[in-house]
């Protein structure tokens, strides 16, 4: 049962932003945004052919500036948002915008990868999430499982909830919230909770994690000093509504029950430098990916705090989006539910060392729950799979 070797793809530019194409559930596709101050920035659409282990890429020009954050619409697979830096008059401004990818870009996939730069297609700007009044945008979040009509942008110390109209060509701020406190507070990251009818948001600023109620735009919980250092990223457990993972500069990954803000349920300390990204697997929430600037990617199996602590199957309805077409997968699980009652141990499944620079982003594929991509600063994208042994252990 040899595990497939990781597939590595190199970008010309440095890159920090990576997302799976959320609305795409058939093809394994990732979007990578580059960072370059001197050249036109690009969005690489990376298709992974699972059967042949081949990567097909398409390059789209993103001329507005270097991309710090990228998000894919959960409803329309061609619509994306980016946060980018624009430099003008020796000033650097962060903006956010909604874009449409040209629908026929797939024709380019047949071309050889190296000549894609010759004739790159350009993104079509749908609308700016014009928040110059509110400062620099840190990230844009799509409403999970939504219809692609609502986004949240985090700009400096503001939370802005946007409504998109007219096939996303117009954006209006429907409500805002502001983080108040001493000093210069800034949101570093955030996550829109898929639970509670998508009515909650969690944000990270400095060492604190805050929860927001989107209906009232007010803070509902706050974990002061959630991490010893800066909190870098958050993710909600897709199957357990109060469970949240966070990571930060103290090299730790912490798992929280938001009902108890005093201390985490579990802390992982596997990385030897800052942890920049933490991601729950969409279907099997015991699988957690973490990316760190120690150039490592770690896949952990957090069985004890997952929704299936005994390998037991949760109700099918509870499963999040992107699951519907994995019927065979689910039936396999249904068939075998009730077995392996023994609580399994939390463990690090494996450490991926293919990167040679800081890994700033890691994402699970929206199409294949056993596949994930990670992106390091030097522009290296690595696609890996969950080890087969573990996969079968979870399934069987």
């Amino acid at each position: 049962m040899e595990d497939d070797a990781p597939v590595i793809y190199g970008l010309e530019f440095q890159a920090r932003s990576l997302t799976a194409q959320t609305a795409e559930t058939d093809a394994i596709r990732f979007l990578v945004g580059t960072q370059s101050l001197k050249f036109d920035n690009q969005i690489h659409v990376i298709d992974f052919d699972d059967e042949n282990n081949i990567i097909n890429k398409n390059v789209l020009l993103h001329q507005a500036g270097e991309i710090w954050n990228i998000g894919a619409s959960p409803a329309d697979k061609d619509v994306i948002t980016t946060c980018y830096n624009k430099t003008s008059d020796s000033r650097v401004v962060s903006c956010a915008a909604v874009w449409r990818m040209p629908s026929n870009y797939e024709t380019g996939s047949h071309e050889s990868p190296d000549d894609s730069a010759h004739n790159p297609q350009t993104l079509e700007l749908l609308c700016h999430l014009d928040d110059s009044a509110h400062g620099n945008a840190a990230c844009v979040l799509w409403e999970p499982m939504g219809d692609g009509k609502r986004v949240i942008s985090l700009a400096d110390n503001h939370v802005l909830l946007w409504d998109l109209h007219e096939s996303s060509t117009q954006a209006t701020v429907s409500s805002t919230a502001m983080l108040e406190g001493k000093g210069q507070l800034k949101f570093t990251s955030g996550k829109w909770s898929p639970h509670h009818n998508c009515g909650q948001l969690a944000t990270a600023s400095d060492t604190a994690i805050r929860g927001w109620d989107l209906r009232t735009m007010s803070q509902i919980y706050c974990m002061e000093n959630a991490h010893g250092q800066l909190v870098r990223d958050l993710d909600f457990n897709p199957n357990k509504q109060y469970y949240l993972a966070s990571c930060g500069d103290d090299c730790k990954v912490k798992f929280w029950d938001v009902r108890n803000v005093q201390e985490p349920i579990k802390t992982l300390e596997e990385h030897s430098h800052w942890v920049w990204s933490v991601r729950y697997n969409h279907s099997h929430d015991q699988l957690v990916l973490t990316a760190s600037s120690d150039s490592r990617l770690i896949l952990s199996n957090m069985v004890s705090i997952s929704s299936e602590p005994f390998g037991h199957l949760v109700d099918d309805e509870d499963l999040s989006e992107g699951e519907d077409n994995h019927q065979e997968d689910k039936t396999a699980r249904v068939r075998l539910c009730g077995r392996c009652k023994e609580p399994l141990k939390d463990s690090v499944v494996s450490t991926y060392e293919e990167h040679e620079d800081s890994v700033y982003a890691a994402e699970w594929s929206s199409a294949d729950p056993w596949l994930f991509a990670s992106l390091s600063y030097d522009g290296r994208l690595v696609i890996n799979r969950v080890p087969r042994a573990l996969k079968y252990q979870i399934l069987l």
């Binding site: 101050l37 050249f39 020796s90 000033r91 103290d250 800052w274 600037s293 150039s295 040679e356 522009g379």
Partner: protein
């Protein structure tokens, strides 16, 4: 012939006399016998007449002799003269021989002798015959006379015998008469004898009756005189009789009287018994009497015990009172005592110490308990075993009661002692407690001897064991609090100079860390001393002169599990654990514990690992020679734990120090507008600060840890060559990276570089030496710098400023690390990344950078 006849007659007569028993002593008979004897003698001496008529009668004696011999021969008595006669008798010529043949003799004479001779012979022969004849005549005559007189004598004897016979008959008649008389007399006297016997019987009976009749009075008198014992013994004597004749009214009256009196007496005894004022001896006497009065033994046992119990109870209450007031007193006194600390020890028993308490308990309670047990056993068990009044199961019943009683009281006593021991919280004076426990235990041995099957001594031993384990726990707590206190002291000692360290005055900052080794040594020495003193105190429990020290518990488990495991090992574990807690609690923000303390503790743990633990454990094992029955924590395991703690602390120290510097660097990068900055003229102050802090950390670590090994140095580590080296290196790098047309090359170059360099773990474990620690700290700082730079966008001067800063860092930081290439690499990365993040990457001339850096 007549002679023989008379002899025969005499003999017969003699026979007759012998046959008559009557006449044995009769004088006549004696006379007769004398007569016959003399007769026999005479007849024997006389030769027979008829023999040797022609025997020569020349010499009378010879002849007589021969005659005598012939008589003898005749009577068959031939024992003498046999040898003489035999040769003579064969010769037929011997004229005196028996075989004499006159013919032959005559022939012989005629043949041999001449006529003259024959004539002579013939005359001689005639002469001899003639003398023989005369002899014979004389003899016959003599014998005849004698026969006559003998006959006379016999006739006279005959007459005398007849007379004697008559007298004898008379005597026997008289005797018969006497016998008859005597029988008649005794017959008449018999009646009177019987009467006398009967009379004496009646007399004794009457005496007894008198006793009986007098009994009530006597008893009363005894009662008055309080001579209970006499009364009881009197009554006991009379009791059976009274019981037997109780159907008779008079006896019944007496019995009733006696009963009444005895009841009264019993009442009085019981009263006395109940009063309790009397001594134990009186009491036992009392009980003995009551027992004799057929009081039910069970009831008596109960009463006796309850009575003894009440007295013991009062002892116990006295003891309890001693605990109570001290408790309340302490709670009352607690407040003022706290206000005035020099007032005294905070020991809860200010009025009596434990030794006094136990003493009192022993002297009062235990000794009287022993007394009770002895007298009880004397009364009910030993006594009853011999006494016939007790049925067989009384001793068992009594014994059972006694056990229950003793167990009950002892349990209460023990609970009191336990309470008192529990109050003994202060660990100041262990010897007092040990002595108290010893006394306690010793005195219980007496009970054990008295009451072999009792659980009391076991319970006592349990209490002692409990107290000992409790004491060990207290010592552990004391050690732990001592450790925590000394840590607080150390922390304070560290905090005061740290303030001055924070102040710009570098001189005072130097002084502070120089105290670290002293602090460490004093800390470790004081802990060691404390452990030693605790061991010494605990050792008292196993001293030879302590009675309970030879109990198996104190020989084995106490030494092994108690002292070694739950005291020493637990303490060491506690040290390690509390050290580790410093790492964990300080996780947030990292500011709660002063880094110097972490460093110090790390060194302390390391010292423990290398020597102290084995020393302490050896010390313990020496003092508490245990047989190692149970598995004990190995020295290696503890050492491993200590090492782990040391490693954790040191790692944490690195992390904390690294974060402090990182924080400075990050703030400096994040708060600056790097796009619109002015041309660099100086190294930024924050970099100087970083170098300063690093230097002071280096000094601090150097105080406690060895230098460690460096990897290959550049041959001459002087500043000059270093800067040349770095500048040349940097220039080639920048030449490649800053050509705007070649972003790919940059990536390629940096990737190639990374391919050949080792992966750097930023927050990794460090070794126990200065260089490794410093490397760790610098790694963390520079990596933070790098990540922060990557998040910013730079203008031309921004980049140049970073160049200057990095060069400055390079100038100073290399000397701290094990591998200076690491610093080069990270600084190159920083400069490279900032060049990437630069809108207008125009690097500064290396020479200018150097000038600026040299200027400071």
């Amino acid at each position: 012939m007549r002679v023989t006849d008379s002899v025969l007659t005499v003999c017969l007569c003699r026979h007759n006399c012998n046959g008559n028993a009557y006449s044995a002593t009769h004088p006549e008979v004696l006379a007769v016998r004398h007569l016959t004897d003399s007769l026999i003698i005479t007849s024997v001496n006389r030769p027979p007449f008829a023999m040797e008529a022609e025997a020569p009668a020349t010499e009378d004696p010879g002849r007589k002799r021969r005659v005598h011999g012939m008589l003898k021969l005749y009577y068959g008595l031939n024992e003498e003269g046999k040898a003489d006669e035999k040769p003579q008798s064969l010769d037929p010529c011997d004229i005196n021989g028996p075989h004499f043949d006159p013919e032959h003799y005559l022939n012989k004479l005629r043949r041999e002798c001449s006529l003259a001779e024959l004539m002579d012979q013939e005359t001689c022969m005639v002469k001899q015959i003639r003398s023989l004849d005369s002899d014979m005549q004389t003899l016959v005559y003599e014998n005849y006379n004698k026969f006559i007189s003998a006959t006379d004598t016999i006739r006279k004897m005959k007459n005398d015998f007849k007379k004697m016979e008559d007298e004898m008959d008379c005597l026997s008649a008289n005797m018969a008469a006497i016998t008859d008389f005597s029988a008649r007399i005794s017959g008449t006297l018999e009646d009177q004898h019987a009467q006398i016997t009967k009379l004496s019987g009646v007399h004794t009976l009457l005496r007894k009756l008198q006793f009986l009749f007098e009994l009530p009075a006597r008893l009363n008198k005894c009662l008055e005189l309080q001579a209970y014992a006499q009364a009881v013994s009197s009554h006991r004597r009379a009791r059976c009789v009274l019981q037997q004749y109780s159907h008779m009214p008079s006896f019944k009256g007496i019995q009733d009287d006696c009963h009444a009196i005895m009841d009264k007496l019993a009442q009085e005894l019981r009263q006395k018994f109940r009063d309790g004022g009397s001594s134990a001896k009186d009491l036992s006497e009392c009980v003995e009497l009551l027992l004799q009065l057929d009081e039910p033994a069970e009831e008596l046992c109960e009463k006796f015990l309850s009575h003894a119990g009440s007295r013991l109870e009062s002892d116990l209450q006295g003891l309890e009172a001693e605990i109570r007031p001290s408790q309340t007193a302490s709670s009352v006194k607690g407040a003022p005592a706290r206000k005035s600390p020099p007032a005294g020890l905070p020991s809860p028993s200010s009025n009596t110490d434990i030794l006094e308490f136990i003493d009192r308990g022993c002297n009062e309670f235990v000794s009287s308990l022993c007394l009770v047990i002895t007298s009880y056993q004397e009364l009910f068990i030993n006594h009853a075993q011999t006494g016939e009044l007790a049925s067989k199961n009384i001793p068992q019943m009594a014994n059972g009661k006694l056990h229950v009683f003793v167990d009950d009281l002892a349990a209460r006593y023990f609970s009191l002692v336990e309470r008192r021991i529990q109050e003994e919280k202060g660990v100041s004076d262990n010897s007092l407690l040990v002595r108290a426990l010893d006394r306690f235990h010793r005195r219980l041995q007496a009970v054990a001897k008295l009451l072999p099957g009792s659980s009391v001594p076991n319970r006592g031993t349990e209490i002692v064991i409990g107290a000992a384990t409790e004491r060990v726990k207290q010592y552990l707590a004391a050690l732990q609090s001592f450790y925590v206190d000394s840590l607080t002291d150390v922390r304070q000692a560290l905090a005061t100079p740290r303030l001055s360290l924070a102040a710009p005055g570098a001189g005072s900052g130097r002084d502070a860390p120089s105290g670290l080794p002293e602090l460490l040594s004093s800390l470790s020495a004081s802990i060691l001393n404390q452990i030693k003193s605790v061991l010494a105190s605990v050792h008292l429990f196993t001293a030879k002169d302590i009675t309970f020290s030879n109990k198996p518990y104190f020989k084995g488990e106490f030494c092994c599990q108690g002292v070694r495991e739950s005291l020493i090992v637990s303490f060491i574990k506690f040290v390690c654990q509390s050290s580790r807690q410093f790492c964990e609690s300080a996780g947030d923000k990292g500011g709660s514990t002063p880094p110097a303390l972490l460093l110090l503790l790390s060194r302390l743990c390391l010292d423990y690992e290398t020597s102290t633990i084995s020393y302490i454990l050896t010390l313990t094992d020496e003092q508490f020679l245990s047989q190692h029955h149970s598995p004990v924590t190995a020295v290696t395991a503890l050492c491993a734990e200590a090492r782990e703690a040391a490693q954790k602390l040191l790692n944490h120290y690195v992390k904390v120090q690294g974060l402090i510097i990182s924080q400075m660097l990050r703030k400096s990068v994040e708060t600056r507008d790097w796009v619109n900055t002015i041309e660099p003229r100086n190294v930024r102050a924050v970099m100087k600060r970083v170098v300063e802090d690093t230097t002071s950390i280096d000094v601090q670590v150097g105080l406690l840890y060895e230098e460690g090994v460096r990897k290959a140095h550049s041959s001459d580590s002087s500043k000059r060559t270093f800067s040349v080296y770095s500048s040349s290196r940097q220039q080639t790098r920048y030449a490649a990276s800053y050509t705007p047309s070649a972003p790919m090359d940059t990536n390629l170059l940096s990737n190639i570089h990374k391919l050949f360099s080792e992966r750097i773990d930023i927050f990794s474990s460090v070794e126990f030496n200065k260089v490794s620690v410093m490397t760790g700290i610098i790694k963390i700082s520079l990596k933070t710098f790098l990540e922060c730079v990557r998040l910013r966008t730079f203008g031309r001067y921004g980049l140049q400023q970073i160049q200057v800063d990095c060069h400055y860092l390079q100038m100073y930081l290399w000397r701290f690390v094990s591998d200076e290439n690491l610093v080069h690499f990270l600084l190159d990365e920083i400069v490279g990344s900032s060049a990437h993040r630069c809108l207008d990457p125009a690097p500064m001339e290396q020479s200018v950078i150097e000038v600026i850096c040299e200027r400071g």
